[in-house]
């Protein structure tokens, strides 16, 4: 049962990732990324990390994906009849070939390493319970410094992003 659910969600994740790779429309790719993110979140919950699955849905689907879709809609390419870009020459896809080759090579290397290694941690799976309490305890005791640094990082990002995206045309 668990194995069947794992394979179903893993298939959904990889298939929609492949759809992102091969789709021409960027908006379709963003919607396929939605399916990938939800399937990966289901994989988290299947492997016993419930808080991380919910955080994945809230952060990625609720925040990052919405931001990406806003970015796609705000940066539409110019119309085809534009005088600046009408006589552009499309160069062949050597980039595509080399990129696919590099990705396939990396995949072969990773699969070789994964399938030929005996992992120390790959013993039996412990008893599952909610990870919420232990995650909170760890964040507030042993990992307090990275936690505070993440808070400072988010503040800096908030200020920096709002400064970068500021419309400077109106002030001058």
């Amino acid at each position: 049962m668990e194995i069947a659910a794992f394979y179903a969600f893993a298939t959904v994740a990889v298939a929609s990732a492949l759809f992102i790779l091969f789709s021409r429309s960027l908006m379709h790719a963003a919607f396929a990324l939605f399916f990938t993110l939800v399937a990966v979140s289901a994989l988290y919950i299947l492997s016993g990390s419930d808080f991380l699955g919910i955080a994945q849905i809230m952060i990625y689907v609720g925040g990052i994906l919405i931001l990406i879709i806003f970015g796609i809609m705000l940066t539409r390419p110019a119309r085809a009849g534009n005088s600046v870009s009408s006589n552009r020459i499309e160069v062949g896809a050597s980039n595509r070939f080399l990129g696919g080759l590099a990705a396939a090579g990396l995949l072969a290397l990773l699969l070789l390493v994964v399938l030929s290694t005996r992992f120390v941690l790959s013993g039996e799976v412990r008893e599952m319970h909610s990870t919420l309490r232990s995650l909170g305890m760890e964040l507030m005791t042993r990992h307090l410094l990275p936690f505070e640094m993440a808070a400072v990082l988010l503040l800096v990002v908030l200020i920096g992003a709002s400064y970068l995206a500021l419309n400077r045309k109106s002030s001058t």
Partner: protein
């Protein structure tokens, strides 16, 4: 209870990472590259969560995945702000067309 072995999670992570790399290299749009980056970060998180399943007392993999998520959110925020500035300046977001540094 037949648990999924850790190698299966790692294979899924490797597949997602390679597809993300291919997306980031071959897309002809800056936001497409960002989609590939998100796929790669998710693949890394799958690996971390899969190993964290085996030590539920410490949960270091899940904590690390949580910080990766925070950094991913920060990264996508800043990069979309930069993309909007680039679009306001060049009127395009194709990486091959962005070839001058002076404003």
């Amino acid at each position: 209870m037949n648990a999924v072995p850790v190698q299966h999670y790692l294979v899924v992570g490797a597949l997602l990472f390679s597809i993300g790399l291919a997306v980031a290299v071959t897309k002809r749009n800056v936001i497409g590259i960002l989609l590939g980056l998100e796929l790669m970060l998710n693949a890394v998180n799958v690996n971390l969560v899969a190993f964290s399943r085996h030590d539920p007392e410490l949960l270091q993999g899940q904590l690390f995945a949580l910080f990766v998520m925070v950094v991913a959110a920060a990264e996508i925020c800043i990069s979309l702000a930069i993309v909007l500035r680039i679009y306001a300046h060049f009127r395009t977001v194709e990486p091959d067309a962005l070839d001058e540094l002076r404003g």
